[in-house]
Amino acid sequence: MERKFGEVVIDLQNISLSFGGVKALTNISFDVRKHEIRAIIGPNGAGKSSMLNVINGVYHPQEGRIVFNGQERREMEPYMAASQGISRTFQNIALFKGMTVLDNIMTGRHMKMNCGLLSHMLHWGRAQKEEIEHRKKVEEVIDFLEIQSIRKTPVGRLPYGLQKRVELARALAAEPELLLLDEPMAGMNVEEKQDMCRFILDVNDQFGTTIVLIEHDMGVVMDISDRVVVLDYGKKIGDGTPDEVKSNPDVIAAYLGTSH
């Protein structure tokens, strides 16, 4: 199956990041094309999460350039990334524990809601209309991810696998152009993994969302991703299609060879 990918959505050039002398990322470059599923793999501590944090502005790299949709960004803040259409999920679930599933997902849509404080106080007319309009969108996401039955449950009470799904729902509610998934399948059993794989592929397929994902499960990565970047000790050691990466001797030595 040959899939056609569009132009480069995000281009990372010579990114270096360090925390007080400890190098997390060294001179890393890769790009992500429209509509592809791009995986970042590597052993623990290879800098995968740091890479995602650089992309959406949580960390500020000391060196390098990020070009997103043709625009170069320097001082990036997370909310700016969000407003430009970048959503993400986290390795250790970062849901709002005190809120219900519905509220969590509604929060994902706040960028698209314009009513101000005063109209919220009244909750009448425009504010109410807006709330209901966005509720409809959120219900679509809820249907898509098959979590209708838990919409009024506080997220703190949900099992781990469902929390991961709610987190994905929150990211999807923002209708992102670029979706960053940090180990979406960590700690799941086989069935849950299969479900999650299906959701990721469907998102990519139906909404045309570009996806960058970090994953430990090699089988999953090789199955669903179009291109793979391999990091080790903060350096890039491989980049290409799953097949190319599998046969890359550096990668085998650093990662695949030792783990499987």
Binding site: F19, S49, N53, V58, F90, N92
Partner: protein
């Protein structure tokens, strides 16, 4: 210029006393991660309990009022009360709240503050008392002669006692087995538990030591300003001290105390007249707040990196 130094030294000396209260906070925070808002109430409890015993002991035992025997027996009884209070707090309040968010523990210690203040006044009464340690509050003569400076003898001795206490505690933590265990606990509860350090004992010891420090602070502050409810407000000044010094640093508490003590006195003297005076009531807090904007982790605290 002499006057400036006089104010400065006076401020530094009272700063040592702020540091003494702050030290109690730091000990408990290091060992159990609890920001003990009630430390000020404990100072008040200690001072009032001591005074209370000095009042009733002569009647109970027939000892001479104001004698050394009464003093030391009261001291011992007050110290015992502090240890009991500390251990009870640890058992009744903090243990059930283990693993709760720090802010919940903080609010619990605010509740504890009220409880302690009510309890101690219910036992000993609401009237303000004097407390004498037998040190007169007069200027040190040779300072007056040599440099023409009025430095209170009381402040000087009090600061001396506080410094001795700091040194003794520092040595205990550095060189004894309990001290080592305590530092291990402060570093990582789980790891400390896993190498067999009895966490409960350590906590009990720490609360006991914090009670002892509160007693010393209570005696000195009480002798200086009288034993009354307002003592708890003085103790509140330890909070900005902690902000400056960081919650986990003993040297930080001392240096923070010195800075707060000196700067509030200097500000009162040199800025106060322009704005109507009385700025001691808020100056330390505003100073700490402005400081936080520049350096949120305090002078000696570690910089915190958010991980996601």
């Amino acid at each position: 210029m002499t006057f400036f130094f006089e104010v400065l030294i006076g401020g530094l000396l009272s700063g040592v006393l702020y540091a003494l209260v702050a030290l109690g906070f730091v000990l408990i925070f290091k060992a159990s991660g609890v920001f003990n808002f009630a430390q000020g109430a404990m100072v008040f409890f200690a001072a009032l309990t001591f005074v209370g015993f000095t009042e009733v002991l002569p009647g109970w035992t027939g000892m001479e009022p104001g004698s050394g025997g009464v003093f030391w027996l009261s001291f011992a009884l007050a110290l015992m009360s502090m240890v009991v209070l500390g251990i009870a707090t640890e058992k009744v309040v903090l243990r059930p709240l283990v693993n709760q968010p720090p802010i919940t523990l903080f609010m619990a210690t605010i509740g504890l503050t009220f409880f302690i203040e009510g309890l101690v006044q219910a036992i000993w009464g609401n009237t303000a008392r004097g407390l004498s340690l037998g040190i007169s509050d007069e200027p040190v003569m040779w300072m007056l002669d040599e440099f023409d400076m009025m430095i209170s003898k009381f402040d000087l001795i009090a600061a001396g006692i506080a410094l001795v206490l700091f040194v003794v505690l520092a040595l205990l933590f550095q060189y004894t087995r309990v001290g080592r265990a305590l530092r291990a606990v402060a570093d990582d509860h789980q790891a400390a538990l896993s190498v067999g350090i009895p966490l409960k004992h350590i906590w009990a010891i720490v609360w006991g030591v914090a009670g002892f420090v509160a007693l010393i602070a209570g005696l000195i502050w009480g002798a200086r300003n009288g034993v009354q409810f307002a003592l708890t407000f003085t103790a509140l000044k330890a909070l900005p001290v902690l902000i400056l010094g960081g919650f986990t640093s003993v040297p930080g508490a001392i240096i923070g105390g010195l800075i707060i003590g000196a700067s509030e006195k200097l500000a009162e003297i040199y800025l106060g007249p322009f704005v109507g005076g009385g700025i001691e009531s808020w100056f330390p807090y505003i100073l700490a707040m402005l400081f936080l904007l520049v350096r949120p982790e305090g002078l000696f605290g570690e910089k915190h990196i958010d991980r996601v």
